[in-house]
């Protein structure tokens, strides 16, 4: 802390990099979809809203104070296509707490890309970021998301029932988390290619 990573970040198949103005169409291709927006706080976005979101993300590349976000575009290295995005939010600099998130284009789901990108962002958080605990949250119906959390080795810490309203109905939410020592001590049992941890 503070965290100013060197970009791009390369994994076996993927390149994680800051957003640029040229990404609007690629982002619109997945953020416009109802199936993608279903469990996100946002509804499906218009092209204008995507342009605005991309504009915002261009500057979200470092963590210094509480609430700062790193949001990175994830490219398939071989083709250069954007397959999704991953985020890391600093919740508390004092207690070294952060939160991760992910949104992937359904055209590219089911191939372990989200796992591979999330692994890189956790390496960043627990490595250079020296974060103590990383959490992630999702709707309990979002199977793809909580299964990803479990693949990463995160533990389910919370299951909230009807604790809030979400898109007009009672919300049910999972929170998963992982401590730095758990990340560093994990067995790389899943098939996602890993770069050596710090």
């Amino acid at each position: 802390m503070p965290l100013y990573p060197d970009y791009p970040i390369a994994t076996d198949r993927l390149t994680l990099r800051p957003f640029t103005r040229g990404d609007v169409d690629a982002v619109y291709a997945y953020r416009r979809r109802e199936d993608v927006a279903r469990y996100l706080f946002d509804v499906a976005l218009s092209r204008e809203e995507c342009a605005l979101a991309v504009q915002q993300r261009i500057g979200q590349v470092a963590l210094e104070g509480d609430g700062d976000k790193i949001i990175l575009a994830v490219d398939l290295t071989k083709t250069g296509s954007v397959v999704g995005e991953v985020s890391l939010i600093l919740r508390s600099a004092d207690a070294r707490q952060a939160e991760v998130g992910w949104i992937f284009d359904p055209e590219y789901q089911g191939q372990g890309y989200a796992t591979e990108a999330a692994t890189a962002i956790l390496d960043l958080a627990f490595g250079a970021g020296d974060i103590h605990r990383v959490a992630a949250r999702c709707d309990t119906r979002n199977d793809a998301s909580w299964r990803l959390m479990e693949r990463l080795g995160m533990r389910r810490e919370a299951h909230f029932r009807e604790h809030a309203l979400f898109k007009g109905a009672w919300d049910e939410e999972y929170i998963y988390a992982m401590l730095r020592r758990e990340w560093l001590g994990r067995e790389s049992s899943f098939s996602a290619p890993l770069r050596a941890g710090p």
């Binding site: 508390s92 004092d94 207690a95 707490q97 103590h132 605990r133 959490a135 810490e157 919370a158 299951h159 909230f160 029932r161 009807e162 604790h163 809030a164 309203l165 919300d171 929170i175 988390a177 401590l179």
Partner: protein, 198 residues
């Protein structure tokens, strides 16, 4: 909502709003470090207890979200202040309330907290129409964990090292109960056997 009728009588306790004359009774426990973890009005030491009392004397009802109702629990026989319970209206649209409670350690282990909380839950669900009541607890506070389970609350979250409290990693549990789960008045309004119609 009809107007709130206080005090509330339980088997052994009277629950009423705080009064100026409670200062001595409050001094006996409110500033204890073991108690500070659980109160809404924090104090650093005994010199701050009068301010805390002033704040709590103002906690007389829930008019708008953000308000807190704090009730002194007084033993019916000798009018000794044994602790207090509080209900904080944290969210109006989703009907969420948080409870906190403290018992002067001198009076611990006699079921007073459960008795007071049972009455507070009745109030939360029946009078204030709260949808979900939750309570937080230190992961090491086995008394309070047992108590919440006895009240029928579900463990919804177990956070590990998610924050720093007084310089140490915190472990926090969240318990919750929904209006439809609350077994009304089992502890509180059960008539003594002799009053039951045979």
């Amino acid at each position: 909502m009809t107007s709130l009728i206080l005090p509330i009588q339980t088997d052994r306790l009277t629950l009423r709003t705080f009064e100026r004359s409670d200062i001595e009774g409050l001094m006996a426990y409110h500033a204890l470090p073991s108690v500070q973890r659980y109160v809404f009005s924090r104090t650093r030491d005994r010199s701050e207890v009068p301010d805390a009392l002033n704040v709590m004397r103002g906690h007389v009802s829930l008019q708008r979200p953000g308000d807190t109702l704090t009730l002194a629990a007084v033993r019916r026989g000798d009018q000794a202040l044994i602790g207090h319970v509080a209900l904080h209206w944290s969210d109006a649209t989703a009907g969420q309330g948080e409870v906190r409670f403290v018992v002067n350690p001198v009076h611990a282990g006699q079921g007073y907290a459960g008795e007071a909380l049972g009455a507070l839950f009745d109030l939360a669900f029946d009078h204030f129409r709260i949808h979900r009541v939750f309570a937080r607890s230190d992961g090491r506070n086995h008394h309070s964990i047992k108590l919440m389970q006895q009240l029928g609350m579900r463990l919804e979250a177990h956070y590990r090292e998610h924050a720093l409290f007084q310089g140490e990693w915190d472990e926090e549990l969240h318990f919750a109960i929904l209006d439809r789960e609350w077994q009304r008045s089992t502890k509180v309004k059960d008539l003594p056997v002799r009053n039951r119609v045979a």
